[in-house]
Amino acid sequence: MSKEKKRSKLEMTEQPASLVKLYLTVLVIVVITEMIGTKTFSIGPGQVVLLPMLFAVIIGIIITPDLLGAKITKLRDLISMTEVKTAGSYVMIALLPLGVKYGTLVGPNIVQVIKSGPAFLLQELGNLGTVFIALPLALFLGMGREAVGATASICREPTLGVIGEKYGISSPEGTGVLGTYLMGTVFGTIFFGLLGGFAVATGLHPLALAMASGMGSGSMMAAASGALAEAVPEMKDSILAYAATSNMLTGVTGLYSVVFLGLPLVNFMYDKLSPVFDKRNRGEK
């Protein structure tokens, strides 16, 4: 414990050389990815939009010490675990200019957005869709109580807090929520960046898809709505405005939705479904 404290204190002290290394690395990534620009191509019925941010997150992940850094010593010297840790605190700050930009997209469209108020409120309930799709799948794969944590919601920070408090983060439910959280943190923006443009092929209206993009994570929302806006450029402003509003709303309702709807529902469904799957799994053996 005391060791831990000492370490965190050490990291609090500013190390200019480490910061400069991180800044330059990020700047190089930004320059490279902006030079690549946005790439759009069709696959089957849909459109795949590759935004610079998608390349940026992939390059960022690849150069970390456990991946490419494990092979190249020079790279490990540049981006060590110290820089990785500092990068985490910069994400929160770097999101804010995007937050402001989203506000400037909602403001001018505020009348239209308010008219769609009922849809905004009700689609928040649609987030519970995960319980009907992911929970049966998790049980089918033989997960136990982990499934409850993993599928209660998209498992961003509020859910992590709620499950951690209720079951303890080292409980099976805690393991489940951490699993989905981790997956979302590492692959969420990549997945939604690819899905955002492609989802138009489902025939769902771009505004409905835009609302769905607001899931309570600024970067996932940016990836999904940014790709969607590039795929349907004539509705760009409305798409971004709807996505931002939905995301803001999830920021307000997300926690309560997990506590009062998501968790009770996932537990109810678990009690109903797990005996069925238990019998089936035993039968197979």
Partner: protein
């Protein structure tokens, strides 16, 4: 108090670094001149700073700084606000996509300490998480589609 002041300077420094990255990035990606984008970038960074101060001042509200930043900008840019015209004129000089690349570059690097944890996860978690993503996204989209249709908006 001095701790708070330190924190304020830290926030400003971080915002300044990120602003420079955005300005350079959008110069390359979208050909937007750094000098003409500068006033808008400063306004955006200031709002971001205010959002951080509000969040730190009212921790009990549990409303993230990101949402405060959007809310302030939203209010300033509403059509009937006297600030709207000037505010939008400057902030339009900062490209929306241009603000996203530094975030994701930092975000990519920041998950570096989770790779080992990720390797320990079972393939089942991977599949279930994808189902969670799809369920959340299309669950919302389908409900939104139905309600917007009923309202006659789409």
């Amino acid at each position: 108090m001095s701790l708070k002041l330190d924190r304020g300077f830290e926030y400003l420094k971080m915002l300044a670094v990120i602003s420079v990255m955005i300005l350079i990035g959008q110069r390359i990606g979208y050909g937007m001149q750094i000098i003409s984008s500068l006033p808008g970038m400063i306004i955006i960074a200031l709002i971001a700073f205010i959002a951080l101060v509000i969040k730190d001042s009212f921790p009990a509200l549990k409303f993230p700084a990101f949402a405060w930043a959007s809310l302030i900008a939203l209010i300033l840019s509403m059509p009937f606000m006297p600030t709207a015209e000037l505010f939008l004129k400057y902030t339009n000089q900062v490209n929306f996509l241009g603000t996203t690349t530094p975030i994701l570059a930092f975000a990519g690097i920041s998950v570096g300490n989770k790779i080992e944890d990720l390797k320990r996860l079972s393939w089942k978690v991977f599949i279930v998480a994808i189902a969670v993503f799809i369920g959340t996204f299309f669950g919302s989209a389908i409900v939104a589609q139905i309600v917007l249709k009923i309202q006659g908006i789409i």
